[in-house]
Each structure stands twice: as structure tokens, then as C-alpha cells.
Symmetry: C2
Subunit: 414 residues, 2 copies
Amino acid sequence: MRCDVLAVGTELLLGQIVDTNSAWLGEQLAANGIDSLVQVKIGDNRRRIANQLTAMLAEADAVIVCGGLGPTHDDVTREAIADVMGATLERDEAVAAVILEMFTSRGRRMAQNNLRQADVPVGAALIAQTRGTAPGLICPVRVGEAEKLVFAVPGVPHEMREMFERAVLPELRRRSDAGSMIVSRVLRTWGESESGLNERLDGVIAELDALGNPTLAFLASGWDGLKIRLTAKAESEAACEVLLDEWEGRVRDVVGELVFGVDDDSMESVVLDMLRTKSLTLGLAESVTGGLVAARLTDIPGASDVLRGSIVSYATEVKQQLLDVPEGPVVSEEAALAMARGASKVLGSDVAMALTGVAGPTEQDGMPVGTLCVAIVWQEGELTRTFRLPGQRQQMRQFSVINSLDLLRRTLSG
Amino acid sequence: MRCDVLAVGTELLLGQIVDTNSAWLGEQLAANGIDSLVQVKIGDNRRRIANQLTAMLAEADAVIVCGGLGPTHDDVTREAIADVMGATLERDEAVAAVILEMFTSRGRRMAQNNLRQADVPVGAALIAQTRGTAPGLICPVRVGEAEKLVFAVPGVPHEMREMFERAVLPELRRRSDAGSMIVSRVLRTWGESESGLNERLDGVIAELDALGNPTLAFLASGWDGLKIRLTAKAESEAACEVLLDEWEGRVRDVVGELVFGVDDDSMESVVLDMLRTKSLTLGLAESVTGGLVAARLTDIPGASDVLRGSIVSYATEVKQQLLDVPEGPVVSEEAALAMARGASKVLGSDVAMALTGVAGPTEQDGMPVGTLCVAIVWQEGELTRTFRLPGQRQQMRQFSVINSLDLLRRTLSG
């Protein structure tokens, strides 16, 4: 079974929005043993959408079309799919009534163009709308002897995801052979380059190449580190997991000290879990990262068990008055240490970490852009470290987060 | 001139990395009057890359291929392009020497597979590497009577961007008619739905539809609001700007009070600029957002002129001890007001804003998930406001940032 993806929207081609839908769909399809081999972005142009869809249906068993179902004049996905089906559009009065009711119940007047969302190609089945106002569509298309499928879903990510899980995936699974499962496992690493990992794992890769299953690939994720992805194919999920367990062990034998987590683990979740297990609270003092370390930690539900808070001491006087940092340069290991001691006291935490540095655009205190000084204080001691980080402002700040959290992780694990 | 984009990498199809390169390229190409009408993602498979490239070259004048130039075994872009050219690969000894020298100068031993990056299809020109180790390629391909071009650039975003600006864009501009320019202008709005904006602007849209130039489109950007994009085509950039000025005025006549910025303006940059103009400093106290407001403000260079800092008071005792919040429920307008007064005092700022709320997964203090209480204190007064926000944890926190900053913007502008 092969299901490709077509993302519709001129704004995607012009780069005003990044298409994240097709990546999410690719992940879901792979997890269900369905191949997605080509994913295309195209503009809001009826003829071009129809032509592209026809070309994709020649190769794939199904195509999911995201976007272009809205109420405005540039939403033409419905029309393009009808062209491919050789069908006309008819207004579905039940859908129209639901749309009208949605506005009425909120005490709002409905703009007439909203009713375009009730237009359905003759022969298509509806995916009922729950959020938003546009229903999705399941459209059969005959290609030679085969009946193929076009699914139309909204471009708004949370609406698309809900419809995919409720209606698209069940239909795809029903139609697919469902013979084999594909399961991936990702080992998250920090501290080695791609070619370095590749060389250290050369022997493992040669064995896997000979076997053909599982496969191994490297994924560079910038400031989230390098991922090693193992992908196994077998008759059941359990059989995939057995293969993955074996080869995860083989990889860890070689580069285990670089692996900080698996699959959905992030550096943030791993550090929070370690602190929680040890019943330790954390306090932060942030200058160069301006709250980013705390913001990323608190994106994880349950962070409140561990994190007391963060003193974002952006102004020098705040460092001095609130955290008791002595006068002098504020980008130094000494200043970071004073900040960490101050944060531990002010926030009443068992462990405290402080970050000060230079994100640019210009140097500060004679220190070049990219300098990061980190200090950690805890019951058993204190440590400081200076990093030279690459990149522009945003990249330098994000690298500061993961480098400091990795330092904290290594400190906590002794 | 039409230049389409092919992003290579199985990790893109599997959703382990989101392809942001093609969006960035689309934006650059449009700004230079070059159409990019189809953008495709495909896996690390030599035959499929070659077939896709052949299909794209039938329609486009040029294709930029991103990724698959690295040193590892799954990087096969060079081989696939050579197949399309009908050429063989030859090792470029000068490039090989540069790669070797890069490792030697850092005192590192070079893995042999790095030299694959010196393999070049016969007939291709090199784009010299500056960062990273893989050079880019400019590959002529004859399609019928026409000579078309394939550009190969790395998949790492900063390397891709540097090579595009240095070598790809100049070559494309040299070959294009360069007759007409396309310029877009984006008006950033907050506070109205897409269909509501569409209806209010119905008259303007009808006039533009009749004219055909500029065009108008709406872009939903979730927690960054709705964008209204005007795109003008004319013989020069100046002529485009004249058209855009006229129609921006027409749009603002109708929905001007919702427009908070233009093009690269963000809610963060607009608020910082307003405070800077008034010579006011800002202090924050954050609970539900955990530092996210400060992190987003400090992502803007020069935020230090305005922002004193933020007290991320995640634990209740930190709110009470550091910010003098009275005992009682901490998700309330009263608690937010006490936090803002405390932040103003502790951080010594002219203006202070505080956020407390419930991001979930469960309710707190009897308040449902999605509750946000904001308080602002400044020389001329105090105000509090409660919002009911939609979404899961991450979405609720991001909506909290933009809603609170928009409240601050409206407060500052009287």
C-alpha cells in the first residue's frame, strides 16, 4: 500500500508557512506499514492541482490532499478533485445546516462564502467536521482497472490530524494488505559528528547492509543532536520490537555513552526525569537564553514537580541586586557561579544552574559572539564550564540550552 | 523562469525532520521574480531521485536539489544527478585535498567515506564549499532543445542558504529574462477569524479580482495570527511598491485596527519598539508560560534596551516569597496583579506584566485548562484581564504569549 501526500497552498511555495502536515502524515503512515514515497507542495491553482493529482495517482494507491478546503475564494481543492473524478459539485444541505448552526449558536452572523464548504463532488463520501467548519472528503478515482482514493483534509494541523486518525487511517488500513508492520526506533545522541558516528558504527552498518533488515540511518537534527534511526520490518509489531532490541544493543555497545534518550525522549524530559527520580528540585538563572531553558523545560507536562522557577536576569543590575553577582564582567565563569548560587538561594532549590553568554550580534565584555558560561551548584559541589558555540543568535541560544542541559545530565549521573 | 525544488531524504518522508529548506527557497525565488510551482520531497533512493528529477525538468527550467550530498552510505544525490546527465562520477583531487586539510588542521583523523564528497559528475561545475565539507554542483541537462540546470546543495539549512546566495541565485538571475519583479507585502493581524476578514474585505477582493494585480490571500499562522498577503507584479521593485502602498491603504481603511505589523514585524518586535520609543523598561512575572514570553522577546536583537528580566515563578512558594503574592488561589486576576506589582518592584521596571493560568493537562484551583489571567501595571494605572484559550499545552502557552503581548500593545498605544 502506498499513500502519497499533496499539500496545497501558494503560501507554502512562497515560504510564508512551512508545511509540517506532510511530515506528520509520513510518520503516521510509516508506523502503520504504509509507504509514502513522494510528498508534493503545490499552489492554489485548480488546473495544476488536478494535473499533479492525476500524476500522483498513476504511481500511488491513494493520495492525501491537505488544505484548500476553506471558505475563501482561493480555496479550490474541492473543484480540482471533482475535475479528476470527472464529477460535478453539489451542495450538501445537511452540512450547510451544521455550518449555519455553528455560527448561530455562537451568536455570530455567517458570511455566505462559508457555505462553499458544503459543496461535495458527486460520488464522494464525507468525513464529518467536528472542529472547524469544512468536512473532509473520501473520493474514489478509477485509474485503469484500479479504484484509487483521494482523501481531502483541512490544512490546519489539529483539524487534519483529528480527521486522519478518525477516518483516513481506518480506511487505508482496511484497504491495505496489512501484511507487514514497519517500526522505527530512534536513539538520541549528543556530542559526536555525523561522519564520526558513521565511522564508529562502520562494522554494525556493514552487517545490517548484508542483512537488509533492520535498516540504519543518521538524522541530523541541529540543536537537538544527531539521531540514529533503526527501522525494522516484520509480520507483527512484537517481531519488529525483538529485532530493534537486538540492534539497539549492538549500537549501544559502540556509542552508548553518547545516547541520552530513545524515541520521544528529549534532553529536557530526560533531565526532568533524573531530577524527579532523585527527588531534587531545580532553580535556574538565565541571561543569554532569556528564559528559553525554563520555557523548554515547562513545555513538558509535570515539570512543576521539579522546577522551582528561573530568574531571567537580563539587565546587569538585576544580576547584581537580585542574585548578588559582584561588579565586573557578567560574561564569565565567576559571574555564572554567582548567578547559580543566587538562584539556589532566591528560589530555594536543591540544584541550580546559571547561563550567561554572548548571543550577538556584537561581542560583550571582550568575549566573542558564541561564548557560553555555565555554572551548576548542588549539594555535592559546584562546577563551571565555558563553551564556544557556532551560529547566529537563535542557533547560539538553542545550542546553549542543549549544551547546558547535557552538562547537567552528566553531572547528575555522576 | 521557473525553478522547482526537490528535497532529498528518507527522514523527511518519515517525518523525523521537517523540510524547511524548500519554503525558504520559495521565498527567495519569489522575491527575485522566479516562479517555484512544485516542491517535492523524496527518499534516499537513486532510481527514484533520478526519475523525479527527469519529470520535474520536463516542466521547470531549473531544479534545486537539497540534501543527499553528505559522506554516509545513504547519500546518493550525486549518483542520481549523474544518471540524469548520462555522465559518470570522477573524483576531484583538489576538493579531496581541501576535505583532508579540513580534518588535519583540526587535528582530527579523516574517515575515508568523507572523500565521496569530492566525486563530481563529468560536465558539472563546482560550487566551492566554505562551511561543511561537501561542495555544491551546477549540472547542465539537455531536455529536447533546451539546456536546463540542476543545482545540488547541502541539506543543512545554513550551508544551503549560503551556497544559494553565493552561487545559485546569481546563475538563475543571469539566465532569467529578469523582465518582471514580484514583490509581496504581508499585513499581520490579530483578533479576527479568516472568514470574518474575508467578508469584511469582500469589496476590496472583488476589485482586485477584476484587476488581477496585485493579488490578495489570507494566511492562517495559528498562534501568530492571520496574515493578509498582497502580491504585486511589475517591471521594477519600485513599481511593485507603488501598487502595494495603494492597496495596503485600501485594506487598512477596512480592517486597520486589527493590523499590528507589516512583513517581518512580529508581535514581539512591535511591543519592544513601542516601549523603546517611549523610553520605558519592561519586567515580567511568568507562571503558566514558564519563561516563554521572555524567551520570545529576547530572540529579538536589542531586547536588552527594554527588558529588565522575568521572574519565572513556577512554584507557588516562589510567587509568595519573591513576588509577595498573598496566600490563596494562584490562578486569578488578583494573583496576576500581585505578581505584576512584585515584578515591577524586584526588577525595577517602568512597566510590568504578569501571566498565570492553566496549561493542563488538568485543571488547577478550580479553573479549567485554557484559563489565562494577565495583569499589567504601569505609571498610569493597572489592569487585569482573563482569557479562555483553546488548545493543548503547547498551543495554550503560545496563545498566552501573543494575547498578553497584544494586550500590552493596546495598553501602550492608549
